[in-house]
């Protein structure tokens, strides 16, 4: 694909999964290098979210392998994925609405006191630190996240993903529910994380979003990979053609789904 010499941070090879006879993902291969943003594009139902849910451990693939830093990785639960430093910001945000920000950020990875009880004070202090970086105006630390605005909820979800030193970040439609200012904030964050050497999968159906941020794009259609390309090598219209028609332009590497 690319002539960059580094080992991919993550490589998904020939991943397939079927739900009740329908192949939601069919032989898809994608990879991601340190400090790289890869945009995953496609229509609703093209299989993007399913593919990344396999990487984040929510689904178990029927076939195919995942490699992390060149070594075979066995990911069958969300906990496994997190152990490999793979963090996900889901489109639905996956927040427990009745719990406060700190509770959500540390959910499943609580800090405990020496007596085995929840160390809420430490978790709140850490939350105040990480939120000061992401959303300096955030003040509602004691309220359940149900009471927060869309942007605030989004920053809680992002904080949860980056707090634990993620190496791979999956962002599923991160700006779908946000206003222009908040969208810009997310874009700034993506660039900052990229500088820190974190690899990012950016899932979106908004092609402009992706072209502004991504180094490469991979396009899926009907569960198959149409092709991958560096964003400099293709035009937005050509990528649109990949999404809609499954037509692979000369600047892109065709996949099994190219017509």
């Amino acid at each position: 694909m690319q002539t960059n010499g580094t080992t991919p941070l993550v490589e998904m090879r020939n991943i397939s999964i079927a739900f009740g006879g329908i192949k939601a993902v069919d032989g898809v291969s994608v990879d991601l290098r340190p400090g790289e943003v890869v945009g995953l594009l496609g229509h609703n139902g093209a299989g993007k979210s399913t593919l990344i849910k396999i990487l984040s451990g929510a689904y178990k693939p029927d076939a195919g392998e995942i490699y992390v830093n060149g070594a075979h990785a066995d990911i069958s639960t969300p906990r496994d994925a997190k152990r490999y430093g793979i963090e996900t910001i889901y489109q639905t945000l996956a927040l427990a609405d009745n719990i406060d920000a700190a509770g959500n950020i540390f959910l499943g990875r609580e800090v405990l006191t020496p007596y085995g009880t929840l160390d809420d004070a430490t978790m709140e202090a850490e939350t105040r630190n990480v939120m000061a970086r992401l959303n300096p105006h955030f003040r509602r630390f004691k309220e359940p996240v149900k009471a927060l605005s869309g942007g605030q909820r989004q920053s809680v979800a992002i904080a949860r993903a980056i707090y634990f030193n993620a190496r791979v970040l999956i962002m599923d439609e991160p700006t779908a529910a946000l206003g222009p200012a908040e969208t810009q904030q997310v874009a700034d964050l993506v660039l900052q994380l990229k500088k820190e050497g974190i690899g990012i999968f950016l899932i979106s159906h908004d092609i402009h979003d992706v072209f502004g941020l991504a180094d490469r794009v991979s396009v899926m259609k009907n569960g198959k990979l149409v092709g991958s390309a560096n964003v400099q090598d293709v035009t937005q219209d050509e990528v649109l053609g990949m999404i809609i028609l499954g037509k692979c332009p000369p600047g892109a590497t065709p996949g099994p789904g190219a017509s």
Binding site: T77, T88, D97, N98, G108, L118, A121, A125, N129
Partner: protein, 432 residues
């Protein structure tokens, strides 16, 4: 990013705000206490001053214990968006088993009235109850059968099993030491013990408040004003000491007191002897269970997971929480609490009958719901549910005191349940 530094200065707590928000008191809980006060004063007026007597309040506390204990577990069950309709039946079958155990099985090895009989009976009760609960939890969590169905089946199965243990025979009487679990004269702990417990409780309240405050100050978080903490401490301690004074103002009946005096070689004075009941053992157990369950629900990882599952099951799963095992444990805990309640109601009746705990599932669920547990999941407090149990029991025994017919009692309790939930939903909509 991992350095625990309070680098960002916390904002000063909002300068404005009502008295209640300064005290950080749950308004809902305050509303329930007000409702309880209205019920108590109302019944007292209607009954000509019989309701608010040490004797009636003592009995009320003992009558509430069994349902209150089960209600603490029901909160967690309902918080996970499930229901348990089988608690009364589990109580029934467990009660039968420990009845037979202390009347037939254990005496065969230990002899009658052995000191080990009571502890072993309790151990059997919590084990059997816990295992039944875990089994139902396994069916619900791992086989994916809806909890409504599993526990509806359980209601019939365990009630039938309760009959099966002795083919319907009632087992009586219970071991003398075991009877203490039911309250009554055997289970009244006396004045001295009551004052000691009350003093310890006051000490713990003050220490806990101070500890929480120091911890927040160390991290530089906003704390409520010092006078607010002091007010809370004083109110809590007055409540504890007041309760102790009330239960100590209820003397043992003259006949029992005389027997006690004779047994202890004390001369029976002319005007009789004032020997206070003190707190009843089942009530003490209920309070301790409530504290432990609150600790589990709010301070332990397990409790956090239970609430996360109730708030968003998918998010809990994606966070790497073992949601199935957590759910199974919730039902196991529910069964274990049924075992404790089985000890209390069996001891109180001084007999094991296969009808024990009939309809308790409805009272337990109603207590949890009146206490602010949301059937949609994710919301509920242990203290609220126990208060709910007290409200239900107050209504019932108040009506008994007034000589209201049983059918009318049921009508009132049912109507109050619906009314309470309606008021609660109005309140929630308003604060949103």
């Amino acid at each position: 990013m991992t350095a625990p530094v309070a680098s960002t200065a916390p904002p000063p707590s909002a300068a404005s705000g009502s008295l209640l928000s300064k005290l950080e008191i749950d308004v809902r809980m305050l509303g329930m206490l007000a409702a309880l006060a209205v019920i108590w004063i109302g019944f007292d007026l209607l009954s000509g001053g019989v309701f608010l007597t040490p004797r009636n309040l003592w009995n009320l506390s003992v009558q509430t214990a069994s349902v209150a204990i089960m209600a603490t577990g029901m909160v967690l069950v309902i918080v996970t968006r499930n229901i348990d309709l089988s608690v009364g039946a589990i109580l029934g079958v467990t009660g039968m088993i420990i009845g037979v155990a202390q009347v037939q099985w254990l005496p065969a090895y230990l002899g009658l009235e052995h000191w080990l009989t009571a502890p072993l009976a309790v151990l059997i009760a919590v084990t059997v109850g816990g295992l039944i609960g875990l089994f139902q939890g396994w069916l619900i969590a791992y086989l994916g059968i809806p909890s409504f169905i599993v526990t509806l089946g359980g209601l019939l199965v365990w009630r039938g099993a309760a009959w099966w243990v002795t083919a319907g025979q009632t087992i009586a009487p219970m071991d003398t030491r075991f009877k203490a679990f039911g309250g009554g004269v055997e289970g009244a702990l006396g004045a001295t013990v009551t004052w000691v417990i009350a003093a310890l409780a006051c000490g713990l309240i003050v220490i806990a408040l101070g500890f929480a405050r120091r911890r927040r100050l160390r991290f530089g978080f906003p704390v409520r004003p010092g006078w607010a903490d002091a007010v809370i401490a004083v109110v809590a301690c007055v409540a504890v000491l007041g309760a102790a004074a009330i239960v100590n103002a209820y003397p043992l009946p003259a006949g029992t007191a005389r027997r006690w005096a004779e047994a202890n070689g004390i001369a029976w004075p002319e005007g009789g002897l004032f020997i206070p009941h003190g707190v009843a053992l089942p009530v003490l157990i209920a309070v301790v269970v409530g504290l432990i369950m609150t600790f589990i629900a709010t301070r332990r990882r397990f409790g956090r997971y239970v609430f996360a599952i109730g708030g968003n099951p998918e998010a809990a799963e994606l966070s790497g929480i073992n949601t199935r095992w957590t759910l199974m444990k919730v039902f196991g805990l529910m069964g274990l609490l049924c075992g404790i309640s089985a000890c209390i109601s069996t001891a109180r009746l001084n007999a094991a009958t296969n009808a024990a705990g009939s309809l308790d599932e409805l009272y337990v669920i109603a207590s949890a719901v009146i206490g602010g547990t949301s059937l949609a999941g994710g919301i509920g407090t242990i203290a609220g549910a126990m208060l709910g149990a007290l409200v239900m029991q107050s209504l019932q025994s108040g009506m008994v005191l007034l000589g209201v017919d049983t059918p009318l009692q049921n009508i009132v309790v049912g109507a109050v349940l619906v009314l309470a939930v309606w008021v609660d939903s109005l309140y929630r909509r308003r604060i949103k």
